[in-house]
Amino acid sequence: MNPKDIFLLAFEALVDRKVRTVLTILMVVLGSSLVVILNGLSAGQAAFLEQQFNTLAANVLFVGSGQRSFSSFATSTSNSLIINNVVLAKIKSLPNVSDAIPEYTGSVQMNVEGNTQRASITSIDPSKLVVELPNLQYVDGSTIKPGDRSSAIVGDTIVNPPGASTPFLTLGETIKATATYSDSSGSHTVVKNFVITGILKPSGNAGIDRSVIINLDAGNELLHKLNRYDQIIVAATTPDDVDTVQGELTSTFGKTLGATTPKALMAVRVQAASGNNAFILMVGIIALVVGAVGIVTTLYNSVTERIREIGTMKAIGAQNTEILALFIVEAALIGIIGASLGTIIGIVGGYILSIFTTTSPAGGGPPIHIPPIFVPMDLIKVWLLSLFLSVLAGMYPAWKASKLSPMVALRRE
């Protein structure tokens, strides 16, 4: 029997049991599409993380009060040091430190001609932004006014929120920023107007792209920080000095100050992401295995139902290997169709799901959409894995069919 005939006979057998075949293919589709979706979303997330950290300079450290948490910028309150100008001066005096840039952070409600939007506030000397983000670029017409307490620079995502057809604001426009804070006397609201003097080009760093950057003094006032910095960006003389500076900071301030590097943050995030990936991949593979069990059931039933046919085929001369091949090709066809449809549906589903799984940034602003990334080699691997599991699932029923004695098979009703 030549391969073409085996294929045609196997295909005919599958078509004959349309509903069962479709349901079995559906199981493989579900399994493989799930793996494709999860893989794509994980790859997208990993790439997004990498992009965020790649925008940061290699020679900077982030210093905050207390032990720095690796998983976020949150700081613990116990044994923490208030970061003020004294601490700043001390850090600046450390060897191998070329600069130390203080910053306040918070969130505000922005109002531009009646339109409102929440946004993160980064209060920093704007001329020092390039120390942290060396590739930062401004749109034409932007001016940086470090000493101007009423000027603001805004990130690209603030100006062009995802899905919006017109810019939220333009250069020269005035925004009204409203911040709230609480103290022992209650809750207070601070309102300040800023003129947009600069707009950043998309930097790839979601944090900065969603920020309103204002003068340090303006931030201190708007966010009611009382000269207590949230973070100091420490620039080491060279990237090779980062570890030395981190050591110096630890020996000088102990656990009252925490310092971490983009590299360390990246490593922890990637590790966490890879742990997640392994878990979700397991879920996908379990779905695929369930699909494979479906194939075993379908083909096993098929063998039982077609036992006389198998006997007839053997009586007219079919070899065991040909019967084996017929059933394996049936399983392979289910696998090929299921894996191919699963891959396509997985890609489409990945994009759709990524739209529904946008995350809102902590500081406010438009939700972050992380598009999935489908690496061709990963898709091929998932396709091959689906096919392999399908063929593997078809092995037992096929083997059972091939080993049937023709006489016994012919006698079966």
Binding site: M1, M313, K314, A315, I316, G317, Q319, T321, M407
Partner: protein
């Protein structure tokens, strides 16, 4: 009916298996007899002990002979047909078809023998209902690895000869019992077998259709020199064959030339 159905020495005859890998293990005893059995025994182990289904079966079938096998239920005639048709191995003894001691071969080679030397007609037709009549007829040729054009041409010719060419694209389940049995006959002829094994081919048919099918087999034997072994319960049909072998209690009780 043209001569093509009865072709025995066709150059493309697929029963020429001399070029198979089993050649060395095959005992070539070419003579006038297309089938010979030598001291064939078949025993089964059962809870009640050893059951002898066939005992010392010795007979020869001449080329072109139409032989009927008769016997009461449980006499061993179907067991005999299964062994002669290479569907089951004997406990001991030899079965030689067209000069080949078939049970000296490996299972895969026996399968090749079934494909090339033996044609089967079953009582319940045993057609693949999801496939068309044409594909059913071509199945043995497909298994033999025959080229598509050759298989198509043979199938077309045989279906025309058997008067069911117009049913080629239909599914067997849409045909009458007589037409289905004709399809089964066409299937058994496609590889030009040395011998045809028919297991009660008229058993599922009404008298008239059964007679038509029998007449067709007789025509194949007498006009086209086909060798046929037919198990039947019908003594009237058996009498119309060249020879009747009566089996009782696993032995040949009588061997009559009609």
């Amino acid at each position: 009916m043209t001569k093509s159905i009865g072709v025995q020495n066709d150059e493309k005859n697929t029963n020429d298996v001399s070029n198979t890998k089993s050649e060395k293990s095959m005992q070539s005893i070419i003579d006038d007899f297309v089938l010979k059995t030598e001291h064939v025994y078949k025993t089964f182990d059962s809870a009640a002990g050893k059951v002898i289904a066939l005992e010392d079966i010795n007979f020869k079938v001449k080329r072109g002979q139409f032989v009927s096998i008769m016997g009461p239920s449980g006499s061993g005639k179907s067991t005999l047909l299964n062994i002669l048709g290479a569907l089951d191995r004997p406990s001991s003894g030899k079965v030689i078809i067209n000069g080949y001691d078939i049970f000296s071969l490996a299972d895969s080679e026996i399968a090749t023998m079934r494909n090339r030397l033996i044609g089967y007609i079953f009582q319940s037709y045993n057609l693949v209902n999801r496939s068309t009549v044409e594909i059913n007829v071509k199945l043995p040729a497909i298994i033999a690895g025959m080229s598509t054009s050759e298989a198509n041409s043979r199938a077309k010719k045989i279906l025309e000869e058997l008067g069911i060419a117009d049913k080629a694209k239909q599914k067997p389940s849409n045909l009458s019992g007589g037409q289905q049995q004709r399809v089964a006959i066409a299937r058994c002829l496609i590889n030009n077998p040395a011998i045809i094994m028919a297991d009660e081919p008229t058993g599922n048919l009404d008298t008239k259709t059964g007679q038509d099918i029998f007449d067709m087999l007789k025509l194949l034997s007498h006009k086209f020199g086909r060798t046929i072994l037919m198990v039947t319960h019908n003594p009237e049909l058996a009498q119309l064959t060249d020879r009747t072998v009566l089996i009782k209690d696993g032995r040949i009780e009588n061997d009559i030339m009609n």
